[in-house]
Subunit: 349 residues, 2 copies
Amino acid sequence: MEVKAKFENDLIIRAAKGEYVERVPVWVMRQAGRILPEYRAVRASVSGFKELVKTPELAAEVTLQPVRRLGVDAAIIFSDILVIPEALGLNYEMVEKKGPFFPKTIDSEQGLSLLKDINPTEDLGYVTEAIQIVKKDLNGTVPLIGFAGAPFTLLCYMIEGSGSKTFSKARKLLYQKPQLAHAILDKITNASILYLNAQIDAGADLIQVFDSWAGILNYPLYKEFSQPYIEKICEGVNGRVPVTVFAKGAYFAFDLFKSSCCNVVGLDWSMSVENARNVLANKTLQGNLDPTALYGDKQMIKELTVQMLEKFGKQNYIANLGHGVYPDTDPDKVKFFIDTVKEYSSKMQ
Amino acid sequence: MEVKAKFENDLIIRAAKGEYVERVPVWVMRQAGRILPEYRAVRASVSGFKELVKTPELAAEVTLQPVRRLGVDAAIIFSDILVIPEALGLNYEMVEKKGPFFPKTIDSEQGLSLLKDINPTEDLGYVTEAIQIVKKDLNGTVPLIGFAGAPFTLLCYMIEGSGSKTFSKARKLLYQKPQLAHAILDKITNASILYLNAQIDAGADLIQVFDSWAGILNYPLYKEFSQPYIEKICEGVNGRVPVTVFAKGAYFAFDLFKSSCCNVVGLDWSMSVENARNVLANKTLQGNLDPTALYGDKQMIKELTVQMLEKFGKQNYIANLGHGVYPDTDPDKVKFFIDTVKEYSSKMQ
């Protein structure tokens, strides 16, 4: 009996593992979301963002939309990094045009006792259910990416209670109560490991860890308060699927990821590809077109995409933007970016 | 007749020029402002932030407060970078706890015609008057720093109309209408040169250019849309006083400042001192303690300040934070930081 290949298109998995690819795989951070009219239609049918996240059928539908329309080489489950703080006991609201808001935050030793142990099946079953629906619908065409926020980034929200330019309250904690910070980070990390393994059990084929606020730290702080917890997560995933780390703004931390057990390192649009290739010679890289480049005309998009491909090279590379696609981007331009990656990289040596 | 020395304490000017100093000069970005109770008292006596900026006697008073209380080696005129967009014709409001808001923004070729030529005496006389009052009161004790926003940072506000995490609207312009972006940047630059020279005429002894949003660009964009305009400003100041450039987040742009006519390059708290010293061997450096380090106890502040001094070395260096001091910082801790710099660096070789 012939063994059926796991995927029709497994380019992204091969690239993540450092295996040979015929062309560069491509997907787009925040591909499932506000750029697509079909997403906005689904979003309009529910009371709010969180209802969408918590309704597996709808989360699955918006996960699949960009696969159908854009022809990306992977789906990424539609969800939010803040489901972990919520599962730990800190509910959040998603305020329209403002972002997340936590009525209750942690700011003392006592606050730590607010955090409960999570049970992924009970607390986050809506995510794993959505993953199962997506996997069934994808039916082996392309892989599905699961994800979580990096513990430090989640800590920022849990301390600050909302977005912030500087997250100075969260950073204050690192200097004033480092033990408490480590205790919270431990809790988040343990929960994230359970959560990501549940995602993998449900069918996630790759994992990405988003350290969205990495850039507000510096090298010594990142080395103490962020990278070790991401590393524990990588270890907790235990090689079951490839792991990508995207630490936005942490240009200073490349050397910390050199000996990490992650497979892929994501670059934001300001990071130097040359420097990353030098320091992270043993890793696959992902990124990093400036998302605002997609506001340019097609000639400009093509030129910048080709430049990007030539800089990264064809192997050990997953094409993407250097940040989530901005909501008012024309989906046709996003598709043009994706098509350009596919076409041009097929002809690269 | 003996010529009287221009300043009792000219450490910061000598350091900026790369001359020998007996100890490291120190000041703190945003030293004039919300950390001081005497500032909050003055602020409470007026209707709003802008009244304070526009009343020379009060702006002068809050400029002098940190010199008295903290013993810094320079005053910096209390003002706002947004006075230039306003002088160009775009009024702004400072919304409590939210930041600046421009009811009118530029988003088309037509918008450019909104911008008028400035007359520093008429449009910005309140700043130069404040400078004159400060200079009289300082009476030669320490130098006074004047400042302006970098053209790109001002462009961000003039396009976006308020603060933003990504300034994606402003970045969109760079890709969609680069000519328009350059035309606006030219206008801002010309106005800034007039403005800074008026500040110098009034008595400013050094100039700092704040490129607060530099970090949202990448190398090619920074090279095209920001650094050349900062360079024009340096050239426009024409060596009358030393110029410092603080391009927050533009770690990727050090080599662009290598051949700049600026004297000092400021580092934010995430930037590598070693790397900056290597690339910018011919410049004085300024920075870069993490402002949240001042939330730590005195032992921690001392340790981190000493580490910073040892990394930068005694010469060609101006001690500072790596960002403006945060509003809820204890002024005694700020003073402790300043005293530590003075004491420790006096004993350094």
